[in-house]
């Protein structure tokens, strides 16, 4: 993973290398903390985030990123994924993958206990994986990370040995096994509080992690207390043993300006999901860790089954018709990169960098394309028409739309208006959005999808995939996706995903807009905070010198 440690990426990509080099001392092991901070055991770190996962606290069924961030201190996984894409032992000491790729055998640590006293063993792994696939759990994300239809089952071999079996080879499994969605609840909780997992809270959100959740006030605060018995950090982690701090206090502050203000006034120590506008306020006294999110970048999905985007010409006109570089630069104040490919640059072992710069802004060409398609008339508002029909696309989004994305949408609309292409942006409530989405009653929709494995393209570009908002259905694409999920040869997988990215660059089923970043800003006296591949904070080694 490329870790951008500096907030000052104002000079463009040439200076970026220099910037990274300059920051190398603070950045080599991704850590936040001012040089003057001297480690001190104990104390409290306050971490402010924008939302809490109210009612979606079950790691096995929740799809909220914020839940994954806030449950990581409590839940451990079988393995750990380093930011560079390598996988190291965690609760599993070692593992063997069968030659046919259908069976993974994990040897578990024998010294791990849940914070409610239950032992962590093969039975616990089985109970958790069974819970994920149980129909009552209604899990979409965790169950697909466990292989979805490919998952066959989990078998207990002995107390410390467990086998996971698949119906067909499922390459992303090890990477997925590192995610908090495949983390482990205490079997006691699964037996007695299965219906309360979504509400969560102390005594329910119980794992083996370095912290226990000791209090939860929905919409307001989560307090975590150090687990003194913790001695099973991932292999190679900078810090082994129990957490340094005694207490982690997470505050929910929805307004980004308020979060920033809380940091600058010293009310909180670290803020997450820091808006680019807020970064401008923070000076050198703050340590900023910005991590490009792997997976599908924030993109527009062009519904190819609708008349307006049925032909590639109109899709290309959208891709070239407005100045995306300037829009991303303007909205994100030079801090986020525009996206070139349907995979983010930080998605391990898959990104096709050759696409960068491949399709510059060219409104002249976009106009010519639209003229050639017969969109030559003009109506009273200046939009193009053909046979009396206005050239118009309906873009649906669901509430809430972030301010930055709303600004970007305004720029897309205004840019396309200049070439006579109307974009109507309908912001819908989740319920109404789902209705329109399932009915396919839209020309455009938007999202980014965070994932550490390029297999996420299967649900976005594969025929019938749940996130296939573009409704593309191409046998060649499906074949490549199927081949890529079934092979564990990294080189072969990378080739297949590059072909898929090339396909999308030509077909424009999705128009990638920008690469989202998770931005943490830490105040003076805070150190030792590390981040995972998603840029999400890990607090085991975190310390405060205040």
């Amino acid at each position: 993973m490329r870790l951008i440690c500096s907030a000052r990426r104002v000079l463009g990509s040439a200076a970026l290398i220099a910037g990274v080099a300059l920051m190398a001392s603070g950045c080599a092991s991704p850590q936040a903390g001012s040089p003057d901070a001297s480690p001190r055991a104990g104390g409290t770190i306050t971490f402010a985030v924008d939302v809490d996962p109210v009612g979606h606290l079950d790691v096995h069924s929740s799809q909220l990123d914020i839940n994954a961030i806030l449950q990581r201190p409590v839940f451990d996984s079988l393995v750990s994924l380093n930011p560079d894409g390598t996988i190291v032992p965690w609760l599993a000491k070692s593992w063997i993958e069968s030659d046919d790729g259908l069976r993974y055998t994990f040897v578990l640590r024998d010294d791990v206990t849940f914070t409610d006293g239950a032992p962590f063993n093969a039975e616990a792994v089985k109970a958790n994986f069974d819970h994920i696939v149980a129909p009552g759990t209604a899990s979409a994300q965790a169950s697909s990370m466990l292989g979805g239809a490919f998952y066959a089952g989990t078998t207990v071999v002995d107390d410390t040995t467990v086998q996971i079996e698949f119906l067909q080879p499922f390459a992303p499994f090890l990477k997925n096994a590192a995610a908090v969605q495949l983390g482990f609840y205490s079997p006691l909780v699964l037996a007695e509080h299965a219906d309360e997992l979504k509400a969560g809270g102390p005594g329910i959100s119980v794992g083996t992690g370095p912290f226990t959740l000791s209090s939860y006030t929905p919409g307001s605060e989560l307090v975590y207390t150090k687990n003194p018995a913790y001695n099973w950090s991932p292999e190679g982690a900078a810090h082994q043993g129990a957490a340094v701090i005694d207490t982690l206090d997470v505050k929910i502050l929805p307004e980004s300006a308020v979060r920033t203000g809380a940091l600058t006034s010293g009310q909180v120590d670290i803020i997450g999901d820091t808006a680019p506008a807020s970064l401008a306020q923070l000076g050198d006294a703050y340590n900023i860790i910005s991590t490009k999110s792997p997976g599908v970048p924030y993109s527009l999905f062009l519904n190819v089954t609708r008349p307006v985007f049925a032909n590639v010409a109109e899709r290309l006109a959208l891709a070239e018709g407005f100045d995306l570089n300037a829009a991303v630069k303007g909205v994100f104040q030079d801090r986020y990169e525009r996206a070139w490919s349907t995979l983010s640059p930080t998605t391990p072992n898959s990104y096709d960098a050759s696409l960068e710069g491949s399709r510059p802004f060219n409104s002249g060409d976009a106009r010519a394309l639209l003229d050639a398609q017969g969109w030559t008339g003009r109506d009273s508002e200046g939009f193009r028409t053909k046979d009396g029909q206005r050239l118009s696309a309906r873009w649906i989004s669901y509430t809430p739309v972030s301010e930055d994305n709303a600004s970007l949408a305004a720029l897309v609309q205004d840019g396309m208006k200049k070439i006579g292409f109307e974009i109507v942006h309908d912001v819908l409530e989740p319920g109404a959005y789902l209705d329109a989405y399932i009915a396919g009653n839209y020309d455009l929709t938007d999202w980014g999808y965070l994932s550490a494995d390029a297999d996420i393209l299967r649900s976005h570009l594969g025929t019938g995939g749940y996130q296939n908002a573009s409704h593309v259905s191409d046998p060649a694409v499906d074949a490549n996706l199927a081949a890529a999920v079934a092979t564990t040869d990294p080189a072969k997988r990378a080739e297949l995903y590059k072909a898929l990215q090339q396909y999308n660059a030509d077909a424009i089923a999705t128009l990638p807009l920008y690469v989202p970043e998770y931005v943490l800003a830490a105040g003076r006296g805070i150190g030792g905070v590390t981040v995972d591949i998603n840029g999400w904070p890990q607090f085991t080694a975190a310390y405060t010198s205040r």
């Binding site: 307004e255 980004s256 300006a257 920033t260 203000g261 808006a275 506008a277 807020s278 401008a280 306020q281 100045d323 300037a326 829009a327 630069k329 303007g330 909205v331 104040q333 509430t399 809430p400 739309v401 301010e403 709303a406 600004s407 949408a409 305004a410 720029l411 609309q413 205004d414 840019g415 208006k417 942006h425 912001v427 409530e429 109404a432």
Partner: protein, 286 residues
């Protein structure tokens, strides 16, 4: 936010606006006239497009080129505020007219129907009035869902009980007036009496409350927009523009400050003007 606030504003501003001709009254009328012209003919006030973006002038402070500065996508804040007048005054006016019509119809009915029915209706009104008007509007949004049209409905539902009460009280007074009794004696149809005599008489005091109520409705609608329950970006609506500027206060105060100044100026003008209407003797709050 509340018609009581409106009533109180109207009632007590008399003290400093003075009774006869007053500079505040003239200024208020002038401001309202400008705002209404702005709402109807925004192009007279600005040559720019409220939706036109320009990434080269993002978040620029006020200058001669952009007297209220520019917003996060380089739109001219002044132009957006000018065009927002149409939207915000429209919502305020629309919601008030709906509330007035519904209030007059229900209030007049309540004053004319048998006591038992009147009692039921008025208990219902009292129950709704137990809630702060802004909360009533929020609850209506909870039922109908967010959206610009629903904001108008929510704001008018919240305002209606106050109009019902006044219309009913006026009806009770007017129905006993000599000329109504006389008309009854002459055998004039009750519906005709209601339309010809009772409703016009309730309208006079209600129009004063309504003038002040427009300001109240504008603030309520802007509040709902601010919370993200009304129109969506890029609509130039005052509450929404203000909301878009709330996270930019530390770097660009102008995005949030100017629409707020306009809302406040509109509400003050409507209040002072409503007060003037009353002091001219067109009616009074009882």
């Amino acid at each position: 936010m509340n018609s009581i606030a409106g009533a109180v504003r109207g009632r007590w501003t008399r003290r400093w606006t003075g009774r006869g001709t007053s500079a505040p009254g003239i200024i208020a009328l002038f401001v309202l006239a400008i705002l209404c012209t702005m709402a109807l003919f925004p192009a007279l006030f600005t040559g720019l497009d409220p939706l036109a973006t320009d990434v080269s002038v993002i978040l620029k402070p006020p200058s001669w080129a952009h007297i209220f500065g520019t917003d996060q996508v380089g739109r001219d804040v002044y132009t957006r505020v000018v065009y927002g007048a149409g939207y915000s005054l429209g919502v305020g006016f629309g919601a008030t007219v709906i509330a007035l019509v519904v209030g007059v119809v229900l209030g007049t009915l309540a004053g004319l129907v048998p006591r038992a029915l009147d009692g039921v209706l008025m208990r219902g009104v009292e129950i709704v009035m137990a809630f702060p008007e802004f909360l009533v509007a929020l609850f209506v949004i909870a039922v109908l869902g967010p959206g610009p049209v629903n904001v108008v409905i929510a704001v008018s539902v919240a305002a209606v009980p106050a109009y019902i009460r006044v219309a009913r009280a006026e009806t009770l007074v007017v129905r006993r007036a000599g000329y109504v009794e006389a008309a009854k004696g002459l055998g004039v149809h009750p519906v005709w009496i209601t339309l010809r005599h009772i409703i016009p008489n309730t309208l006079a005091p209600l129009s004063v409350i309504a003038t002040i109520g427009i300001g109240t409705a504008i603030v309520a609608a802007a509040g709902l927009s601010f919370l993200g329950l009304g129109p969506q970006d890029p609509t130039p609506e005052w509450g929404l523009i203000l909301s878009g500027g709330r996270n930019l206060l530390a770097v660009a105060w102008w995005v949030a400050v100017f629409p707020g100044v306009f809302i406040t100026a509109t509400v003050i003008s409507a209040t002072v003007f409503g007060r003037r209407l009353r002091s001219r003797g067109t009616g009074g709050l009882r």
